[in-house]
């Protein structure tokens, strides 16, 4: 009788001793093995508990309680040792070898808008914030939209400023002077005014075409045309809107200079220079819409007035990005395009 009780005491003591050595396990596996030897299905403590029936009745309660206490102690010791191991492992991980951050990143394919498009959107955003609509029109248009209704006199040298590409009649090489590749986006001014009634504030971006081809001229290039028509629109407002526009684009402190110039469809007409990189540079043409143009679209120039302006997007892009040959803009060399 005392045998079993004494033996019980010995085993419990051994189990407690073994549990206190959990901390020596180097790996989780080793720890679990140690634990299994004590409390696993065939562990020492498990085996001991199975022998409870051999314990005399009066000792059962006491030994049972003490065994449970040892078992709890064992579980606690195991959990602590496991946590200690995990912490050790985390510490090893945090102080182990670093990654090589200089290896290239895994590709997320990035696309880019063409610099002309980027500049166009930048310009349009400024105008949109001033309340302008964006309009679009055909690239091949009628002579009357491109010249006649804009007040270009027939056989006038003003058309020399805009040497045109004409369209051949279908099935022949004969020139059809009625249709041409638009030489400016002012055609959209005519088209929009014919379609709508004032008040109007419209900008129109697009490709235009002139028979020029050198380092600063491409036979196709991009313009943005804009115009405002309403009652009481003045030259002072033209100056205000375009100054705001240019400063929004080139910086609030940019010096802006207005000087007279000539376009048949405006009167008074002007050009604007900005001071940038140490010199004055011409950036856009503008003026009060010529009364003849207003009459041509059926507006009454005694009632409404308006201003119009136009600028070369390519020129702006070249200015903003430091591109010196316009041809680079149209080569679509992906090595250039991916720089934007």
């Amino acid at each position: 009788m005392t045998d079993i009780v004494g033996e019980w005491e010995v085993v419990l003591e051994r189990v407690r001793a073994a549990a206190s050595a959990f901390g020596t396990a180097a790996t989780e596996h080793e720890l679990r093995e140690q634990n299994a030897r004590l409390s696993g299905p065939s562990g020492e403590l498990t085996a001991l508990m199975k022998r409870m029936k051999e314990v005399p009745g009066d000792k059962k309660r006491e030994l049972g309680q003490r065994s449970n206490a040892v078992k709890q102690e064992l579980e606690r010791a195991f959990a602590d040792a496991l946590a200690a191991l995990a912490r050790k492992q985390r510490e090893a991980e945090l102080s182990g070898p670093a990654i090589d951050p200089s290896l290239p990143g895994r590709n997320v394919k990035l696309g880019r808008l063409h610099p002309i498009t980027q500049v166009t959107y930048r310009l349009l955003d400024v105008f949109a914030s001033l309340g302008f609509d964006v309009a679009d029109g055909p690239e091949i248009d009628l002579h009357k939209h491109n010249f006649d209704m804009l007040g270009f006199p027939p056989d006038h040298p003003a058309t020399d400023m805009q040497d045109s590409f004409f369209i051949a009649k279908e099935g022949s090489n004969e020139v059809d002077r009625g249709a041409l590749l638009r030489t400016h986006t002012s055609t959209i001014q005519i088209r929009e005014m014919l379609k709508r009634k004032p008040p109007l504030a419209v900008v129109a971006p697009g490709a235009v075409f002139r028979r020029d081809d050198d380092a600063t001229h491409s036979p196709m290039f991009f313009q943005i045309e804009g115009f405002v028509v309403d009652e009481g629109v003045t030259f002072a407002q033209l100056k205000g809107v375009l100054t705001r526009f240019l400063r929004a684009l080139f910086g609030e402190e940019t010096p802006v200079k207005f000087r007279p110039s000539y376009f048949p469809f405006v009167e008074p007409g002007g050009e604007i220079d900005i001071y940038r990189n140490g010199r004055w540079m011409e950036v856009l043409g503008c003026g009060m819409i010529h009364p003849v143009v207003l009459e041509n679209v059926g507006y009454d120039p005694q009632k409404v007035s308006g201003f119009a302006f136009g600028m070369g997007v390519d020129r702006m892009a070249m200015l903003l990005y430091g591109i010196d040959n316009i041809k680079q803009l149209y080569e679509n060399d992906v090595r250039l395009l991916t720089q934007f």
Binding site: L130, P157, V175, G178, G232, Y262, P291, T338
Partner: protein, 816 residues
């Protein structure tokens, strides 16, 4: 237009240096694009030849002893015209720097030391005579700087004139402008021949005497008829006898030189001087070469020809106005004189023509002949018709002074209909309405008067007669611009208006922008190509033909308008491949053109995509782009912008419509059954003929159809996020190669009933144990009940239906 500061100063008594003049002109709309200084010749002095002897060893060189007033020096000279002792020459002393950059220093020439250089006109940039050194005809103080002695210092402005300002194509016009800008008096050139005052010229179709005195009432020395008063509203001429043709004096030659004209002889130089002074072209004929001593101004007859001054024989058009003598044309009116009637060194009698030709007529002729001359440039912009007598008198005066001709000359003219300036009313209210600035009537009156207008105040308006040298002033707004211009735009008020009225009616342009921005977000880089292309490239890319043709292309390969975006993009790809770029993913959104049968061709926006090359990154996936990359990109592009899904299906009609695609690896894309474009690999034959490396994935979308089916403008209707969990089952089906995954998936979806939330392909397998012509498709079917948590039993039941349907519909083996 080049303009001499010195000359302008002679014509207007302003006090301003060249820089100030340039700024003021620019701010008044006469843009000075450049300035160049002339006649700064430090170290070049007047010297006298004291002796000359041959060079001991070089027979083309002469040793010249010169005296500069202080010391003698020996100079080696290579010119053939070294003058005799006593004559004056221009000596560049040691240390002098010539305009061509040459610095004079002591030099040893063939064993003789040369101290300085005797200069010719071209070396000093004072003329164009390069036959030898300058030998001065007049006496000057020895040792005086050449610049001072010869009055050389000048600044020449290069003015970019707009076509509305013909008056400024002469110095007098520019001086008038400066007179208004600086408020300084104008000094008109003096005339030794008095003219009838303008406006009182008797009108008529018969020649009348122009100058009082000689010739008045007598018969004119040259018979004159003007048959076309529309093309030639005014024609005047004068005969000067006893002229001796020789070189012009230095001051005249120098003036022409700095303004870019070559000196020819005194009479021609005088007409050129007056051209640059009044901006008015005149022409001098040798009277003895005018056959029949008569002038007829008429349009060309059929088959008529003329050999112009430049030696070219030109065929004439019935619309061309000619100046003819008794036998035929001697000049193309307003454009160029004839070869045989001009002034030569033997000329003794000169007939000077001064006429006003219709600007449009001159322009038509000049364009037709491809002849743009100093004369046509001015006539087509419009010279001052009322200046005719003054201009003629000025030429005659100068010929008298410089060529010894008889004066006063017997001038005469035909001037059937006098030009009278139109009256324009300028209202003070209109100024404020247009400029947004209050400008006093007196201020406007002062400005317009200074510009040469005849101004009469009338209440709150001005009655303005614009000068005839300003054909651009025809209405009130033109006068307002003059006022604004002279005040200076920068001195006018600026007003920032409130936000503009916008009707925001531009969903289509917004759609275009969204497409472009989405395309970039989907990994595509944007290309912008010229719209021009060639027949060859259109054929190589199997693009739609015929294309719209440019009648006057800038070069051979740019004579057609693109009918597809493939020609441009294929060339961009070719360029990238030739530069060893490993992969290309680009798009372009632009217009293409097709003949329509109407005046304006049909234009439509296309969006095209090109994918080529390795898809991957440094961690493998070196496989090339294929159809499915293209489809993925289009899904990433189309869906977010239009909020629509498209279907891709094999379509036999593509072979005809888009023959540039691979017939087995391309598909038509549809939304609601409407074709929105096509996607596929390019046809290998196309790749070969474009000299590209394949395979190339290409897609072309029709933007207007996409816009039509788009729901992008409508606000999306949001579905509630599911509250109960989903459950999924996998199924692998072996089917014939020809079966499309998409139709298998939709069968599965239908069979599963309402519980099926999605069917997604996750594996495609061929080969191995599968029979040839078979493929295995593995799908994951997701089940969900929006109202309850699914039990395994319900999922199993639904999935069993799916399996059964798959088995019967596809006679499919189910794997796994």
């Amino acid at each position: 237009m080049r303009a001499s500061y010195r000359w302008l100063k002679e014509l207007c008594r302003f006090e301003a240096d060249p820089g100030e003049v340039a700024d003021r002109l620019t701010l008044a709309g006469l843009e000075v694009e450049g300035t160049k200084k002339y006649g700064e010749l430090p170290g070049v002095v007047i010297a006298e030849v004291r002796g000359k002897r041959p060079h001991p060893s070089r027979d083309k060189l002469t040793l010249v002893t010169v005296f500069d007033g202080k010391v003698e020096a020996e100079v080696v000279c290579g010119a053939p015209n070294v003058p005799e002792p006593g004559k004056l020459v221009l000596l560049a002393q040691n240390g002098a720097k010539l305009p061509n950059g040459m610095v004079i220093a002591e030099r040893n020439l063939g064993g003789v030391v040369s101290n300085g250089m005797l200069c010719g006109e071209t070396e000093l940039d004072i003329g164009s005579d390069d036959d030898g050194i300058v030998v001065l005809a007049e006496r000057h103080e020895l040792g005086m700087s050449a610049a001072r002695a010869l009055n050389l210092e000048d600044t020449v402005f290069e003015i970019g004139l707009t076509p509305n300002r013909p008056d400024c194509l002469g110095h007098l016009g520019l001086a008038r402008e400066l007179s208004a800008l600086f408020g300084a008096p104008l000094v008109e050139p003096k005339l030794s021949t008095p003219t009838l005052s303008q406006g009182t010229v008797p009108a008529g179709t018969r020649p009348v005497a122009l100058f009082p005195g000689a010739g008045q009432g007598a018969s004119t020395p040259v018979g004159l008829t003007v048959a076309d008063a529309v093309r030639c509203p005014r024609y005047a001429g004068a005969v000067i006898e006893g002229v001796s043709i020789k070189a012009s004096p230095f001051w005249l030659r120098y003036r022409l030189h700095v303004l870019g004209l070559r000196a020819i002889n005194n009479v021609v130089d005088i007409t050129n001087l007056v051209l640059l002074e009044y901006g008015y072209p005149t022409h001098a004929f040798d009277l003895e070469r005018l056959r029949g001593a008569r002038i007829d101004v008429r349009t060309a007859k059929a088959q008529e020809k003329i050999v112009t001054l430049d030696g070219v024989e030109r065929a004439l058009h019935a619309d061309d106005l000619l100046i003819c003598d008794g036998e035929g044309p001697v000049a193309v009116a307003g454009v160029m004189g004839g070869e045989h009637s001009g002034v030569s060194s033997n000329t003794q009698k000169v007939f000077v023509e001064t006429a006003y030709f219709d600007p449009r007529a001159v322009r038509r002729t000049s364009r037709r002949l491809g002849l743009h001359t100093d004369a046509s440039h001015r006539f087509e912009r419009g010279v001052d018709p009322r200046a005719v007598p003054a201009v003629l008198a000025r030429v005659v005066s100068l010929i008298g002074e410089l060529a010894g001709g008889s004066t006063p000359a017997n001038g005469f003219e035909v001037y059937p209909q006098a030009f009278t300036p139109k009256e324009i009313t300028l209202r003070v209210a209109a100024i404020e309405r247009l400029l947004g600035a209050k400008i006093a009537l007196e201020k406007a009156q002062g400005i317009l008067t200074a510009l040469g207008c005849d101004v009469t105040p009338s209440g709150q308006s001005l009655k303005v007669l614009a000068p005839t040298w300003r054909p651009d002033l025809t209405r009130e707004e033109d006068l307002i611009e003059e006022v604004a211009r002279v005040i200076g735009y920068d001195n006018l008020p600026t007003e920032t208006p409130h936000v503009m009225a916008s009707t925001n009616a531009t969903p289509y342009t917004r759609f275009l922008r969204q497409l472009k921005e989405r395309a970039a977000a989907a990994g595509l880089t944007e290309a912008v190509n010229l719209a021009f292309t060639s027949q060859k490239l259109l054929e190589a890319t199997r693009s739609p033909l015929p294309a719209v043709r440019v009648a006057n292309p800038i070069s051979e390969g740019r004579d057609l308008m693109r009918s597809s975006l493939l020609p441009g993009l294929s060339q961009n790809l070719l360029r990238a491949q030739r530069h060893q770029v490993p992969s290309v993913s680009v798009f372009e959104l632009a217009r293409v053109f097709r003949p329509s049968g109407d005046l304006l061709p049909h234009e439509s926006h296309k969006l095209a995509v090109v994918l080529w090359g390795a898809r991957g990154s440094w961690l493998g996936d070196s496989a090339g782009f294929d159809f499915y990359d293209g489809k993925g990109v289009l899904e990433a592009l189309i869906k977010p912008v239009t909020r629509r899904d498209f279907d891709a299906a094999i379509d036999a009609t593509l072979a005809e419509e888009a023959p540039f695609f691979h017939p087995r690896r391309s598909a038509r894309l549809t939304i609601d059954g409407r074709s929105v474009g096509a996607l596929g690999e390019l046809h290998p034959d196309v790749i070969e003929s474009l000299e590209l490396l394949g395979p190339v994935v290409y897609a072309e979308l029709d933007v207007s159809t996409l816009f039509a089916v788009s729901r992008g403008e409508q606000a999306p209707h949001v579905r509630a996020t599911p509250r109960f969990p989903a459950s999924s089952r996998d199924i692998a089906i072996v089917v014939d190669e020809a079966s499309e995954a998409g139709s298998v998936a939709s069968v599965l979806r239908e069979a599963g009933g309402a519980l099926v939330e999605g069917v997604e392909l996750f594996d495609l397998y061929r080969g191995g144990q599968l029979a040839a012509g078979k493929k295995s498709l593995a799908f994951r079917v997701t089940y969900r009940d929006p109202a309850a948590t699914l039990t395994d039993q319900r999922v199993d039941e639904a999935h069993a239906k799916v399996s059964a349907e798959a088995r019967t519909r596809f006679q499919a083996d189910l794997r796994g």
